[in-house]
């Protein structure tokens, strides 16, 4: 293969913060003491925490070196399936950092926070328009809290109907958060097997959907990257028996401007602003997981809600049927500002184009790799495609080996071993912000790895060889946990 994107370079060893500490150093300019000292009762006071002592230069070098051991979307392609690691626009960061937003206290009197309320009000309207739903709450702090909010809304709805239900249907392709969120509401998950073609069918759902079942949680497109095209019929069936349809909207990046989620029969869905709406993932968060509902569920949304009267915006708690509060204040507002900035930068045509290109990229990768890797569900996919290691197993090479080897070529590995319905899954979501040239290099890398799997499998077993560390002892870490230093 020609020269790869991944290469070796000088990175630095860097000790732990406290290994660098030297008594007497400080990396902070203490504000001047301009009022008399007022000591607290000695019984209340302690020595203070044993923090390391570092100069400002120490701190800067420390974190600069650490950052160099990391890989981000800014470094290269990050094709993690179900995670939508698209480019994070830099203008979003500028907007969220504006002092009017970043410096705003959450309990500001209404007259002093009209700008931020106006922004949030409109963001709610935009998300309602994008999904086709009627009302939105921005409060959930991440996708899983959005799911919890959605489940609480469903729980409150059934309570209001006079009879609580006990179970919820969760397809076998669901994210792990789905059953965990349902369990927090006391609902028992009933697995629904997906059909032979990787999608749900009404006849799989019908026998499970009874009067004790609160509804169904559907991920659409599902975790195989396929559109659940029977969703309308399934929703009708669930509604007939008094249930509600929850949609996990983590994969909404396939559908912007293309699908009307309300028309698919969904009653409540959550979005991940840190996936579809380009806000950065931050090495694990913060995210934001708004929920969108149809009119009949709006009274149950979390409070406070934003109301507009004349030209004035205000926060209202006056929703007696609300499920309550999920966050101390309004949610992850800083993340919402970035999503708002993204929607305005893209406009309606840009959003639609983004989904079209996301789907194009996934299909291009699928088509160009399917002769090397087993593709359990062939045919047009949406924004992601799922391969397996079936063709490599005879060479004793697994998905894990191939994922690790991909790092040496300069790419972040795809999502691996998920969804569980595909043994040895490699789940690739390129997103719309990767160019054809980047995809071609990625495809070439995976083709080279498929070749190595046949010819020099040991190369894959030893991978990665170009990262800061080699494979790590995860068994030792779990057997004898060392969680603090």
């Amino acid at each position: 293969m020609k020269e790869t994107v991944g290469t070796t370079g000088l990175v630095f060893n860097e000790p732990l913060l406290w290994e660098k500490s030297k008594k007497g150093r400080m990396g902070y300019a203490l504000p001047k003491a301009d009022v008399p000292h007022a000591p607290l009762d000695a019984a209340l006071v302690s020595e203070g925490p044993d923090f390391p002592e570092l100069s400002e230069v120490d701190v800067v070098r420390h974190y600069t070196r650490l950052s160099q051991w990391n890989y981000g979307v800014d470094s290269g392609m990050y094709p993690l399936g179900s995670c939508t690691m698209k480019y994070n626009p830099k203008t979003n960061e500028r907007q969220a950092a504006l002092s009017g937003f970043a410096g705003a206290h959450p309990l500001l009197p209404e007259a002093l926070c009209q700008g931020i309320l106006e922004l949030l009000f409109h963001l709610e309207r935009y998300l309602a328009e994008i999904t086709g739903m009627d009302a939105v709450s921005l409060q959930p702090a991440a996708g899983a809290q959005g799911e919890l909010a959605g489940m609480l809304v469903i729980h409150a709805y059934h309570r209001n109907q006079g009879r609580q239900r006990l179970k919820i249907l969760v397809p076998d392709t669901a994210h792990g958060t789905n059953p965990a969120s349902a369990a927090l509401c006391g609902y028992r998950s009933v697995p629904v097997p997906s059909g032979a073609r990787g999608i749900l069918t009404p006849d799989m759902v019908a026998p499970l959907m009874d009067e004790d079942t609160a509804g169904i949680m559907i991920t659409n497109p599902n975790t195989l990257g396929l559109f659940e095209k029977n969703v309308k019929a399934i929703a009708a069936l669930v509604h007939d028996r008094g249930g509600l349809v929850y949609c996990d909207g983590a994969n909404m990046n396939a559908l912007l401007g293309m699908v009307d989620m309300a028309a698919t029969g969904v009653d409540v869905l959550h979005l991940n602003l840190h996936k579809t709406f380009s806000t950065p993932h931050g090495g694990g968060g913060p995210g934001s997981g708004p929920i969108c509902v149809k009119k009949h569920l709006a009274p149950f949304l979390p409070v406070p809600r934003i109301l507009k009267k004349g030209k004035t915006y205000r926060l209202s708690e006056a929703f007696p049927e609300s499920i309550g509060k999920l966050h101390a204040f309004f949610g992850n507002t800083g993340v919402m500002i970035k999503a708002y900035s993204y929607i305005l930068s893209m406009g309606p045509n840009g959003l639609k184009r983004a989904s079209q290109l996301a789907v194009l990229n996934a299909n291009y990768v699928r088509k160009r790799l399917k002769d090397c890797f087993h593709l359990p569900h062939d045919g047009l996919c949406m924004h992601e495609c799922v391969f397996s290691d079936k063709h490599q197993l005879p060479h004793h090479v697994t998905t894990l080996d191939m994922a690790k080897r991909l790092m040496d070529y300069g790419f972040h590995p795809p999502t691996i071993y998920f969804p569980l319905v595909v043994s040895g899954a490699l789940m690739i979501e390129p997103t719309e912000t990767e160019s054809k040239e980047t995809l071609d290099r990625f495809i070439e890398a995976l083709r080279a790895i498929a070749r190595e799997a046949r010819e020099t499998p040991q190369t894959l077993k030893n991978a990665p060889g170009r990262c800061k560390v080699r494979r790590l002892d995860e068994v030792g870490a779990a057997r004898r946990p060392c969680l603090t230093g």
Partner: protein
Amino acid sequence: MKPIEELTFPEDLLYAKDHEWARFEDENVVIGISDYAQDQLGDVVYVELPAVGTVLEKGEVFGTVESVKAVSELYMPVGGEVAAVNEALADAPEKVNQSPYEDGWMIAVKPGDASEKEGLMTRSAYLDMLKGLN
């Protein structure tokens, strides 16, 4: 994972369909998981066991066994009162991998209903079942 031929299954034990084994001693039944089960799980990193004195029925969950990326529940092959647990597994869960039938035993139970023994498999019946699985 190893082929079944390379795994060991002692003759003097009885086996359950969820891959627990039971050794009937004078008063107690000693319980653990089979060589096949530990091989499927991979490196065991944690074993959660019940308190001594807990009374559990046949088929009830008595604990969990964890590898890095999986958790499996452990089911009582026969009902009874937990008389002893293998405390050594707390610090050395790897014993389940290294010695599933001796050092890696999990609990000892004072059995309740003697007839429950009848539902368990002999070595050869268990082997037949495993060959059916693969």
